[in-house]
C-alpha cells in the first residue's frame, strides 16, 4: 500500500465522478457524480496526510472539511431539486432551458 496506489484509486474515483456528473440527465444522478468526485478527493487528502505529513492532524482536518462540503452539497442540491421540480415539474436537465423563474 503505497501513496501512489492510494492516489491511483482516488484518480479513478474522480474520473468516474466526472463522467457521471457530465453525462447524466437526472439531477440526482448528477449529484451522485459530484459525490463520487468528492469521494476521490477524500481518499487523496487522507492519502497525502498518511504519506507526506508525518501525521500532522491538519491533513485529516482537510478530509473533514471535504465531508462538510459533501453534506452541504447534498442539502442544497436536494433543496434545489425539490424546488425546481415543484415549480417546473422538471427532473432532468433537458427540461430546464433557462434558469429564470
Amino acid at each position: 500500500m503505497t501513496l501512489e496506489a492510494v492516489l491511483l484509486v482516488s484518480a479513478a474515483l474522480f474520473g468516474i465522478g466526472v463522467y457521471g456528473a457530465l453525462s447524466q440527465q437526472s439531477f440526482v444522478m448528477i449529484m451522485m457524480g459530484l459525490e463520487l468526485m468528492l469521494n476521490g478527493a477524500i481518499v487523496a487528502a487522507v492519502g497525502f496526510w498518511w504519506g507526506t505529513t508525518g501525521g500532522n492532524p491538519e491533513g485529516q482536518l482537510l478530509a473533514i472539511v471535504v465531508m462538510a462540503v459533501m453534506a452541504i452539497e447534498g442539502a442544497i442540491g436536494f433543496a434545489l431539486v425539490t424546488n425546481v421540480y415543484r415549480v417546473r415539474k422538471a427532473d432532468i436537465t433537458e427540461k430546464l432551458r433557462k434558469l429564470r423563474g
Binding site: Q25, T82, R86, K89, D91, I92
Partner: protein
C-alpha cells in the same frame, strides 16, 4: 449415498422439532366462521398468521356463496412449500378440490391439523402443487430504443406495463400514484374487505371498495332474538363478547398481540363474574397509550350520526338512539346508554370499552328477564331489523370519504375501529333458515 442418509436424518430431526411448535395457519373465513377461527387462534398448537407467506396451512372456513372465492387461488399459491389446504365446515372448493374436508368443532380441527402437519413434515404427504400457471399477469416486452417504450423518458408503457400516473400531492410536488388493491383476505384488513387504493408514498389519495364476497349470513343470538324473546343476560354477555373480540383484533393490529390474546381468552368463556378481570384488561389497554397517543392523534375518521345513527359508532358520535331504551325489561334495569361526543376513532374505542363493562353489569343484574322478539334488536353493531340490511352496511359506502387523505397506518386504524361487517350480509336469516 451417506450424505443422502445424513440429509434424510437431518430432515427427520427438523420435522420432529417443528412439530413441537405451533402450526402457522392463514385463514380465509366466511362470516359464520370468524369467531370459530378466533377460538382456533387461542389454541397453542395453532398460530394464525397475517400473510400466506408465513403459513404452512391454508384454512378455508365457513359457508361461502355460489361461485369462486375471490383471490383464493393466488393465496394458495403464495403459501410456501410444503403447504396444505384444509376446508372447515363448508362445501368442497371448486378451486382446490384436493383440500382436506374437516367438519366439527375446534378440537376436532386441531387434532386433524396436527395429524396432517405431522405427515407433511415427515414427507409422507405430498405438498400441494400450484393452481395457477407461474406466468406474468401482463407480458413483459421491450419497446423503443432502450426498451423503455413509448413517449420520452416519462410515459409510455415499459414492457407493456403502464407506469404509475402522477398526481399533485400535499407538498405541492407531483409524484407517482401507485394503484394497488388490498384484500379481500389480508391480515391488515378485516376479513372480506377489498380496497382499491391510490397510494402516494403511504398517503391514500383515493379509495374504492371492492366487490363484496358472497357468504351465508351467520345466525347469532341477536338474529334469533328478532322473533324469539331472549334472556337479557345472554344478549348482554354476547354483546360484551363481541366487543372483546373486536378489541382483540384491533390490539393485534396495533402491535399488542399479547393483550389481544388476553382479550380473546376472556371473550372465549365470558360470564358476568369476569367483570374485574375485564376491567384489568381495559386498564392495561389504556396504559398502553393506544387510545391517547395512537388512535387519538389521527386527524379524520369521524363518522357523524347522520351516516350511522345506531350502535356503538352512532353513540360514540353522540346519538342517544338505542333500541334497548324501548324494551320493557331494559327499562326495568334502568338502562341508560353510554354516549360519546366526538365520533372519532378514539371515541369509538372508548365507547366499546365502556359498553363491555356496561353489558356485563346489565347481565349481572338481569336475572331471568327476556327482551326483544318483535322484529327489531339492538345488535352489537347497531340496530337489526328483519327484512332490512344491517345498519353497518352503510359504512362501506362512506369508507372512501373516510380514508382518503389518511396515511396507510391511520387508515387501517380507522377501518378496524369501525368494526366493519365487510361482508355486509344484506340478507338476515331466521333460525328456520327461511329468508325474510
Amino acid at each position: 449415498m451417506a450424505r443422502a442418509r445424513v440429509f434424510v436424518g437431518l430432515k427427520e430431526t427438523l420435522g420432529r422439532l417443528a412439530r413441537s411448535g405451533p402450526i402457522p395457519v392463514f385463514a380465509v373465513t366466511a362470516a359464520d366462521a370468524i369467531n370459530a377461527v378466533r377460538d382456533l387462534g387461542l389454541r397453542r398448537e395453532v398460530e394464525i398468521v397475517a400473510t400466506p407467506r408465513h403459513a404452512s396451512v391454508l384454512l378455508v372456513a365457513g359457508r361461502f356463496g355460489e361461485g369462486p372465492i375471490a383471490g383464493l387461488s393466488q393465496i394458495h399459491d403464495q403459501l410456501p412449500l410444503p403447504r396444505l389446504t384444509v376446508r372447515w365446515n363448508g362445501e368442497v372448493l371448486a378451486e382446490i378440490p384436493q383440500a382436506r374436508l374437516v367438519a366439527g368443532d375446534v378440537v376436532e380441527l386441531v387434532d386433524r391439523l396436527l395429524a396432517l402437519d405431522a405427515e407433511i413434515l415427515a414427507g409422507a404427504l405430498a405438498s400441494e402443487s400450484p393452481l395457477l400457471p407461474d406466468v406474468d399477469a401482463v407480458e413483459w416486452r421491450g419497446v423503443g430504443p432502450y426498451g423503455h417504450g413509448g413517449s420520452g423518458m416519462t410515459g409510455g408503457t415499459p414492457f407493456g406495463r403502464p407506469l404509475a400516473d402522477r398526481a399533485p400531492d400535499r407538498d405541492g410536488l407531483e409524484l407517482d400514484q401507485l394503484p394497488v388493491s388490498v384484500g379481500p383476505w389480508v391480515g391488515a384488513l378485516p376479513a372480506g374487505l377489498e380496497l382499491h387504493v391510490k397510494l402516494q408514498g403511504d398517503l391514500i389519495q383515493g379509495v374504492e371498495v371492492g366487490p363484496k364476497v358472497a357468504v351465508m349470513a351467520p345466525v347469532d343470538a341477536f338474529v334469533r332474538a328478532l322473533d324469539v324473546p331472549t334472556p337479557v343476560k345472554l344478549l348482554e354477555v354476547e354483546r360484551a363478547r363481541h366487543h372483546l373480540r373486536w378489541l382483540a383484533d384491533v390490539l393485534v393490529v396495533h402491535g399488542l398481540s399479547a393483550l389481544g390474546l388476553w382479550a380473546l381468552r376472556l371473550a372465549h368463556d365470558l360470564s358476568p363474574s369476569d367483570r374485574s378481570e375485564v376491567e384489568r384488561l381495559l386498564s392495561a389497554v389504556r396504559k398502553s397509550g393506544v387510545i391517547k397517543l395512537v388512535v387519538g392523534r389521527i386527524r379524520g375518521g369521524v363518522v357523524s350520526p347522520g351516516v350511522v345513527g345506531t350502535g356503538p359508532i352512532g353513540r360514540a358520535a353522540g346519538s342517544g338512539d338505542d333500541a334497548r331504551l324501548d324494551d320493557q325489561s331494559y327499562q326495568e334495569l334502568q338502562f341508560q346508554p353510554v354516549i360519546g361526543e366526538t365520533g372519532d376513532t378514539a371515541a369509538r374505542w372508548n365507547q366499546r370499552m365502556a359498553e363491555v363493562v356496561q353489558s356485563l353489569d346489565l347481565a349481572a343484574r338481569a336475572e331471568e328477564r327476556t327482551a326483544f322478539g318483535s322484529g327489531c334488536v339492538e345488535g352489537p353493531r347497531g340496530l337489526i331489523v328483519s327484512k332490512q340490511p344491517p345498519a353497518s352496511a352503510s359504512l362501506l359506502e362512506v369508507l372512501p370519504t373516510l380514508l382518503t387523505g389518511l396515511e396507510w397506518g391511520d387508515a387501517v386504524s380507522v377501518v378496524w375501529s369501525l368494526d366493519l361487517d365487510a361482508f355486509a350480509t344484506s340478507v338476515v336469516l331466521l333460525p328456520s333458515g327461511t329468508e325474510t
